[in-house]
């Protein structure tokens, strides 16, 4: 199978009826990498994946595998494997036939097809179900068939389009580990589309965060998690508290109180800013003098998540192991290194 050192997306653009669904995506994928395209629905992540697979023609830009231009090739000649959101298993073929389909199309010898199909079915633990039709399988099993079918041809790149979104929470966690394990064992270069930040952070080597067709940030899970590039990325990555304020030398004025934070990007004194902090980074107690009233409390096992409100009416989400009850008045503080200040 054709392998590569780098796969390069050069200003990949796709327009639908004049509107940019994806605008100028530049990305270099190295062999063996696990890349997650992350963003809310309609951000262009599936469009990017379909462009890569060849299922959507580009409006602009190009895709290169080392020195070969790919975007002019039809999907069947790109040698990529794809796992679809609805699995797209061939309903009239048994699990075995579904898995061996790609090998058959590639004209692999019969004995070899048998061996590799068996191996792929074993890899996803479906030995007893090999003769069944997809309609006789559960969602999780269908999903595993789809993965086996995509990886059996040893594609140079595996594309996954929200493969876990149709599974229940428990199965989703199991399959997440399973996909990551497959990636490690087979060393398959993978591009994975998801809207679930936790999924993306836990599985990927690198994240591409998209919004409205444009790249917001490319980085390792740690970089993206700790240092979101802008307020939109922060919003999408769990910074539930986005407090509007005015920048003042090294601190932010939010309504009546001054707090110090870490500026991200160009923030000048007097600028309108957004101060972002995760609920779990809000500290209870401390001498900051910001007092909030707890309004709603959700039980989360060891922790509780609470929605509180400041005296001047600003809502604040926080997580704590302390037992709070609605109506409690508590003082909160924001650790300056965890409070990121973005230009509004």
């Amino acid at each position: 199978m054709t392998t590569f050192e780098t796969l390069r997306l050069d200003g990949v653009t796709r327009r639908f009826a004049g509107a940019d669904a994806l605008a100028g995506l530049d990305l270099e994928i190295r062999r063996g990498e696990f890349i997650a395209l992350l963003g809310p629905s309609g951000c262009g992540k599936s469009t990017a994946l379909n462009c890569l697979a060849g299922l959507l023609p580009l409006s602009d830009g190009s895709i290169w595998r080392d020195g070969t231009r790919l975007d002019t090739l039809p999907p069947e000649r790109r040698g990529f494997g794809m796992v679809f959101q609805n699995y797209a298993l061939f309903p009239h073929m048994s699990v075995r036939k579904n898995v061996s389909f790609g090998l058959k199309m590639r004209g692999v010898a019969r004995a070899e097809i048998r061996r590799r199909t068996d191996e792929a079915i074993r890899l996803v633990h479906l030995e007893e179900h090999a003769a069944k039709l997809p309609g006789q399988l559960s969602g999780g099993q269908q999903q595993r068939v789809a993965i086996a079918r995509a990886v059996v041809v040893e594609p140079s790149l595996v594309l996954m389009d929200e493969p876990l979104s149709n599974l229940d929470a428990k199965l989703r966690l199991e399959m997440r580990t399973e996909i990551r394990r497959l990636h490690q064992n087979l060393g398959l270069t993978t591009v994975y589309v998801t809207h679930d930040q936790e999924e993306a952070l836990s599985m990927a080597d690198r994240l591409v965060v998209l919004r409205a067709g444009r790249v917001q940030q490319i980085g390792t899970p740690e970089e993206v998690h700790n240092r979101p590039a802008n307020r939109h990325v922060a919003d999408f990555l769990g910074f539930r508290n986005l407090l509007p304020g005015i920048a003042g030398g090294g601190s932010v004025k939010i309504n009546n109180w001054q707090v110090s934070g870490t500026p991200v990007g160009a923030v000048a004194e007097g600028d309108p800013v957004v101060a972002a902090i995760r609920p779990e980074d809000v500290v209870l107690g401390g001498g900051s003098g910001i007092e909030v009233t707890v309004e709603v409390v959700e039980y989360h096992g060891r922790e509780i998540a609470a929605e509180a409100r400041t005296v001047d009416g600003l809502p604040l989400h926080l997580r704590t192991s302390e037992r709070l009850a609605p109506g409690d008045k508590v003082a909160v503080a924001f650790p300056p290194e965890r409070l990121l200040v973005f230009p509004a």
């Binding site: 697979a53 299922l55 069947e76 040698g79 494997g81 609805n86 309903p91 389909f101 969602g139 979104s165």
Partner: protein
């Protein structure tokens, strides 16, 4: 709803009785009155000929080659016409399964012949394909032939008429069967390395085949009962003397109602035979869901 009637309803439901099924009564009465009763009446009439035993009408039909051969004549027209309609509908519907500009207009153009009616179609065919029609004039002008090609008042006239009226049915049915097939299946096949020929023959066609069998049955029945065009653009005393003409002659030329009913029953039996063969073959195919999974 009061408590006692609810309880009655639950008790009935537990025994598998749904009172709402009573709403089917009018439709059932309609079918019995307009189909089952005339059918049984026809059988009864066919078994009471003026002379001979109960099966005399059938014996006459099958012993007289002039009557008997109408079966093969009709089959020779209806089977190829139905097959052609289905096979021609597949590539056209396949190309038109996606969304594109002008799809509605094109579909309308393809379906309009349904509204024409057999007589108008026959008239058009006579004008267009007749010895002095446009078609022959063009052929002669282009020196393709020096004698007009005979395409009316013979087998071909009826064949063309059946295609013009039958194709829209076949096309609409095939198009709706095709649009029921999950498009992501073909895309999945493409990413697995299948070119369009393989995608069509290995994915689309197997999923479409049961629908094609049903479409064939419907267009076959339409073609098998051909009557007006067999007379208007055919050769009703020779090559297109179809079974419905035999029945008509028996009933309204010879006033032999038993013979006419026998011909009609034979006609129904032949149709039933062809349909059971096709549906029997269909049951060997995969006939389940055409979706690619959940979602």
């Amino acid at each position: 709803m009061t408590a006692p009637t609810l309880a009655v309803r639950h008790r009935l439901a537990e025994r598998g009785i749904d009172p709402q099924l009573l709403l089917l009564v009018p439709a059932t009465v309609f079918v019995v009155a307009l189909f089952v009763y005339p059918f049984c009446y026809g059988i009864a009439v066919s078994l009471q000929p003026a002379q001979g035993g109960a099966l005399a009408a059938y014996r006459t039909f099958f012993s007289d080659a002039y009557q008997r051969d109408t079966i093969t004549t009709t089959l020779a027209i209806a089977l190829p016409a139905a097959l052609f309609n289905v096979l021609a509908a597949v590539p056209i519907a396949y190309r038109m399964r996606g969304r594109f500009r002008g799809k509605r207009l094109l579909t309308t153009v393809l379906v309009v012949p349904i509204t024409l009616g057999t007589v108008l179609t026959a008239e058009g065919l006579l004008n267009f394909l007749g010895p002095t029609g446009w078609f022959n004039r063009v052929l002669i002008f282009l020196k393709v032939t020096d004698q007009p090609v005979t395409l009316t008042h013979n087998y071909w006239g009826v064949f063309f008429s059946l295609i013009i009226t039958g194709f829209p049915f076949a096309f609409l049915l095939v198009l709706s069967y095709l649009s029921g097939i999950d498009p992501s299946l073909e895309r999945a096949a493409a990413t697995l390395g299948a070119g369009w020929v393989q995608r069509f023959f290995r994915i689309t066609l197997p999923l479409l085949a049961p629908g094609l069998a049903t479409t064939f049955c419907l267009t076959f029945v339409l073609a098998f009962s051909v009557f007006p065009s067999a007379i208007l653009v055919g050769d009703p005393s020779g090559s297109t003397r179809v079974i419905s003409i035999a029945a008509y002659e028996a009933a309204y030329v010879r006033y032999d109602y038993a013979g006419a009913s026998a011909a009609a029953i034979v006609m129904g039996a032949v149709e039933l035979l062809v349909i059971s063969v096709v549906l029997g073959l269909r049951s060997l195919l995969y006939t389940g869901s055409t979706a690619g999974g959940k979602g």
